[in-house]
Structure formats: structure tokens, C-alpha cells
């Protein structure tokens, strides 16, 4: 009799008993019967292997030893690619792949797989980033061409240092995860084709970006119409503007300053929103970023529009008048700061900073030193 813990009731079920002739305390299933839930008739569904390649019951011995070398290494059949490398694995899903299945797969994938394989399947999950052995990337050619049965088999029986997940993930969900892996491969494939090798995997999780079709943006035709109308409105108001200049010059410059603050605010404020978006991220900014960038491109125009303010400063600002300054002691003191040359120089500095931020961000980053 094997050694047993004294008085331990659990051991009774497996202990030698003399009541039955075969000495087993538990009975074997009657020959030709299958316990409920253990009928695994559909070989392809339950094993991911082509029917006939495995003996149906009991489940197949995995063709790849779970403790074997990391498959991405050069040892694992380097010459064979695609289905040829995994001749026993099924190539079509044994279930109907619907949207619900893929959604379910996404959920299960993010729970069970993403820790190692990463949210985009590049094999750079959080555990890998913390020093664990790098998981296989679903986006290299080997796995891109592998049949679906291979993924199912790896989840079911483990692969390399990956353990079997058969106990944690029901069969149906393993296929759902496989379907989601296929979706991930599609999404990442377009990304890699566009950006070239080596840049993928830095920014995990933003799959939506990959699906947006790119191309030169052509403004819709009615933008031209808006442009024409704006030109007409602009021309009309320019006439009024010129008339105002001759009618009441003081009011003209005062009003000009007010209008300037409105229009300059749009392009200068766009710069602020742009920087805010770069700092915080988020979908809202992704959508309006190009519009904001276009708005900041009008900054040189704002600079030109500022020139009349400097030219008309003596009509707008009382502190430009030497007589008034002399009359008020406070203003005399303030004139160290409030004088036209310094005013103009300061404005030049403001515009230099804004224009540099808006138009030449790349050299500025280079100035800031090496990073990344």
C-alpha cells in the first residue's frame, strides 16, 4: 500500500480495495460509453487537426512537444512556410466566424493572451516588457501564413514556453481567440506595409488608425464655392475698411485692433490646442488635428496683419504720445516698458516663438537634444 496521510479521507478514492475484483475503488466507464460532455466527435473542432490525422478519442498527443525549443528560433523547420509547415492543422475555421465570435475572441484575447502577446499581437505584452521571454509575434510571416488550426493547437496544448490553456479557455472560446488573432494580423499587416519595417509595435492598441484609408486629401467641391463667397465678402468689407480709414482714422485703428484680436486668436489658439492634444492624446484631437495645423499655418498672415497696429500705434495707444507721458508721473515710469521700439521688439519675439512652434517644430526638437 502506498504511503498515505494518516486518516486522510481524500485518499480513500484511489486506494486499494478488495471489494471489487480488479482492486480499483472507482469504477471504469462501461466499455463503449462516453461520459457526458466528453464526446468529442468533431475532431477538427476539438483538436484543430484534420480528421484522420489524430485518433479521435482520447485527445491527440501534441505533435509539438510543449517543452520544446522556442518555435521562432531557427530550429523549427525554417524552410517550410504556411500550411506546409503545419500539414496536420486545419486551414478553415470549423465554426462560423461572426462578428459576435470575433468580439468574444477580442475579450478573451485581452484577458488571457495580451499579457504576453501584446494588445496588437506583436509579442510585446506587459510581461515581456518586464523581462519575460519574448512571446511569438502574430505579425511575422511564419504565423501570418500558419493555418488556423495551428493557433488553436498552440492554445490547447501549449507551444514553447507557453503552457496549455485548455483548462482555462473552453473550446469555443479558443476558436474565437483564433478568429480575433486573424483580425489582428489583418489590421497590423496594413500598418506594416505602409510604414515599412521596424516601426511597428511602439504604440499598441490603436487599431482604428490602421483602418483609416489614406490618400491625398481632396477638398470637397463646395469648398471652392465657400472660398469664392468668402472672397466676395472680403472684397466688400475691404471697401468699407478703406472708407473707414479715411472717415475716422482713430476709430479705424481701434476697430482694427479689435478685429485683429479675434482673427489672431483663432490661429494662435489653434497652436495651444495642438500642443494640448499632443500632450494629452485622445481621439478628439486626432480628428481635428489637421484642421488645427492648417489654422496655425495662417500665423505668417497674422504677423503681416499686425504691421498696421505698429504703424497706427500712436492712434491706438495713449502711452505713445510723449506729451501725455510727460504729464503723468506713473506713465513716465511705465514708459521704460511701454515705449514703441520695445513694444515692437516684444511683438517680434512673440511672433518668433509662435511661428517657430507652428512652422518649424522639427528643428526645435533637434535643438532640445537627443531623446527617444
Amino acid at each position: 500500500m502506498p504511503s498515505r496521510h494518516a486518516g486522510s479521507a481524500e485518499d480513500e478514492a484511489l486506494s486499494l480495495i478488495n471489494f471489487f475484483r480488479d482492486g480499483l475503488s472507482t469504477r471504469q466507464p462501461i466499455e463503449g460509453t462516453v461520459a457526458r460532455g466528453f464526446l468529442k466527435e468533431d475532431t477538427e473542432f476539438f483538436t484543430g487537426k484534420k480528421a484522420g490525422k489524430v485518433s479521435a478519442n482520447p485527445p491527440a498527443v501534441p505533435s509539438q512537444a510543449p517543452a520544446g525549443p522556442q518555435p521562432s528560433g531557427a530550429t523549427a523547420a525554417p524552410a517550410l512556410q504556411g500550411p506546409a509547415a503545419y500539414p496536420d492543422d486545419v486551414e478553415v475555421f470549423p465554426i462560423a466566424v461572426t462578428k459576435e465570435v470575433v468580439t468574444r475572441g477580442k475579450e478573451r484575447y485581452e484577458i488571457f493572451c495580451s499579457a504576453c502577446h501584446g494588445l496588437t499581437g506583436n509579442g510585446d505584452g506587459m510581461i515581456v516588457r518586464r523581462g519575460f521571454r519574448r512571446a511569438a509575434s502574430f505579425n511575422d510571416d511564419r504565423l501570418r501564413q500558419a493555418p488556423v488550426g495551428h493557433f488553436f493547437d498552440a492554445i490547447t496544448n501549449g507551444w514553447g514556453s507557453m503552457p496549455s490553456y485548455a483548462a482555462q479557455i473552453p473550446t469555443e472560446d479558443r476558436w474565437a481567440i483564433t478568429a480575433y488573432i486573424r483580425a489582428l494580423q489583418l489590421s497590423q499587416q496594413t500598418e506594416q506595409k505602409r510604414s515599412g519595417a521596424g516601426t511597428s509595435g511602439r504604440c499598441a492598441g490603436d487599431k482604428r488608425r490602421a483602418s483609416v484609408t489614406r490618400g491625398p486629401y481632396n477638398a470637397p467641391p463646395n469648398v471652392n464655392r465657400v472660398q469664392q463667397r468668402a472672397l466676395i465678402v472680403g472684397a466688400v468689407f475691404t471697401v468699407i475698411f478703406v472708407v473707414g480709414f479715411f472717415l475716422n482714422r482713430d476709430q479705424f485703428f481701434y476697430s482694427y485692433l479689435f478685429a485683429f484680436s479675434f482673427w489672431a486668436g483663432i490661429s494662435i489658439g489653434a497652436l495651444a490646442l495642438l500642443m494640448l492634444q499632443h500632450l494629452t492624446g485622445g481621439g478628439w484631437g486626432l480628428v481635428i488635428r489637421r484642421v488645427l495645423e492648417a489654422a496655425t499655418r495662417t500665423l505668417p498672415l497674422v504677423l503681416i496683419l499686425f504691421v498696421p497696429i505698429v504703424l497706427g500705434a500712436h492712434r491706438i495707444y495713449k502711452w505713445t504720445d510723449a506729451h501725455t507721458v510727460a504729464e503723468h508721473p506713473v506713465l513716465t515710469e511705465k514708459s521704460k516698458y511701454l515705449n514703441l521700439p520695445f513694444f515692437t521688439a516684444r511683438a517680434a519675439i512673440y511672433f518668433a516663438i509662435w511661428l517657430a512652434l507652428a512652422l518649424f517644430p522639427e528643428p526645435l526638437v533637434a535643438l532640445a537634444g537627443p531623446h527617444c
Partner: protein
Amino acid sequence: MQDRTADRKYTKNMRVLSGPGMVLFVFTVSFASIDWFMSLDWEWSSTIYGFIFVAAWSLSALAFTIAVMAALSKQEPMNNVVAQLHFHDLGKLLLALVMLWSYFAFSQFLIIWSGNLARGD
């Protein structure tokens, strides 16, 4: 540039630049607003004036952008990109900026108002 190369380097660089950029921006806009607008009345001063302009200019830029997006979002190709969801987000941000602006403006107003009260003594 990024549209052509899809290089994520730009995204990263912009983030690096945006931090110091925001600080510079607040300073320059503050001083610009003092120079260009507050100095109209040289006897008057307000310490929150610059912030009002930072908020107000961002606000007007956002309002303008939303208007442009609203017009563009009805047609190709923007209608594929812009969803109702984005406008909800932008609307929230717009509300936040309006509240920020009114907070600054009211702070200034409250002090001027209290300064104008008749003295009780």
C-alpha cells in the same frame, strides 16, 4: 509630413516639444495681451488678464475648428472619419474651455466689482 511617411517619430517629437511649448505659449500670450490690449488703458491693470486671453483664444480656435469640422463631416472623405462620438468629445472640451474662460473673467470682474463698492466706514 506624417501623412506621407506615417512615421511615429513625429508623434513622439511633438509630445516632447509640446510641454515646453505650452509654457512658452502661456507666457507669450500673457505678455502679448498686456502689450496689445491691456495697455489701451494705461491706468488700469489686471493680473489675470493674460490667462483670460489664453483661455479665450483657445476657445475661439476650438469653436472655429468645430464649425469647420461640422461642415466637412457631411461629405467624403471626412464623413468616414468623424463620428458623432467625436463631436460629443469636442463639445465637452468646448464646455470646459467656456467654463475656464468664464472662471477667469468672473475672477477679474469680482475684484473690480468689490473694489467699486462704496466703503462702509
